[in-house]
Symmetry: C2
Subunit: 200 residues, 2 copies
DNA sequence: TTTATTTCTTAAACTACTTTAATTTTTTTG
DNA sequence: CAAAAAAATTAAAGTAGTTTAAGAAATAAA
């Protein structure tokens, strides 16, 4: 049973990687050998502000949120991650400096992780992975850019609709207060928007 | 005279590059040989939506803005670039797909550019430049992340103050309507904020 | 240097969103 | 399964930011 779960998770990450680069069976095996599995219970943290982000993390099962706490002590969700998404604090990971973010499991979750030094080794032995992680960074960059752009030109209702359209899975799965925080509005206002759009 | 201008601009870009990677005189010369100089008059475009971004561009003199036009036909400034800053549409450049952005000179400007294929050649001959451009991407990513985070937790006045603090040069140099667009507010409201903060 | 054009300012009326607070519903825990 | 805790809803009053419109100031063009 335990073995089966591990198999599942590695199959999942290999499928994900193979969307961007092609690997031989040997390379796959080598990559897998560098990964560490981890389970995180709901409300536990994968990362806390002040800690250095030591892993890039692939979510096999569950759901997590990245957030930071502003000067007034208010939490702001920056991004969510569910099955087959990567998470972490890329800047903290790359520079190995303390993060300003928290990553909290919203559900009991299973992840696989690759540490900084394992990744460096991987780059040297299978240079294709340089490309893979550069592509991850590029994709993250473009997603951020689109978010900034969309935030500049849309009101809360449009942003909520776009969120549901882009992440249909998340609408049902994540507490509304977390979605509101991600959208930059209050839960009360989101509730009102929902009632309004339901009526239509 | 012409020669002198070229010398100036290449010295500027080499200083910039050497902040992130160290180059031998030979490597410097080779890098310079791949660059193309260009002058752009005020109100002219370095890039237009629909075009593929064929160059990474380093600004030697002048000032440019990146913007996009939303569905209602409204322009939104996404970023500015002045002396020693890089500009372009990174995603369009990397994927060689059409851009959704315009890059317009706000002043008569001088830039140096490196084309996609020259950059690939450069990567092969001087791999250090892979690192350089990865760092550029990372820095751009982090800047975007901070902007998203800041936008979530600050009102217009705080965003304006932070903008002036972070880019003191730009406050005087760029039309207020462009700063307002970057901040996501109307020029009228920015004008009101300025009067309010001047009074203090 | 004058004219034309663009940008900035001001102010009043308006709208999107927040705040506060009370109530209901859902989820979690013992 | 009951009690406790957390999340969602509703509504009223308040505030941050927009819209519209007109005049003043600055900049560009002739």
């Amino acid at each position: 049973m335990y073995i089966w779960m591990i198999m599942d998770n590695t199959a999942l990450i290999l499928t994900n990687v193979s969307k961007l680069i092609e690997l031989s069976p040997d390379e796959e095996a080598y990559f897998i050998s560098l990964l560490q599995s981890k389970t995180i219970k709901r409300k536990d943290f994968l990362l806390q502000a002040g800690d250095v982000c030591r892993y890039e993390t692939f979510v096999c099962k569950g759901c997590l949120r990245n957030y930071y706490i502003d000067n007034e002590g208010v939490e702001h969700n920056t991004v969510f991650a569910v099955e087959s998404w990567w998470t972490g604090d890329m800047y903290s990971f790359i520079t190995q400096t303390p993060s300003r973010y928290f990553i909290e499991a919203l559900e009991d979750s299973e992840v696989v992780q690759i540490g900084k030094s394992s990744l460096e080794t991987l780059y040297q032995n299978v240079p294709k992975f340089e490309r893979f992680f550069r592509l991850l960074l590029q994709n993250a960059y473009v997603a951020q850019e689109q978010r900034i752009v969309h935030n500049l030109s849309s009101n809360a209702e449009e942003r909520y609709t776009a969120f549901l359209k882009r992440y249909p899975q998340l609408g049902q799965r994540i507490a509304q207060k977390h979605i509101a925080s991600y959208l930059g509005i209050t839960p009360e206002f989101l509730s009102m928007l929902r009632r309004k759009t339901m009526a239509k």
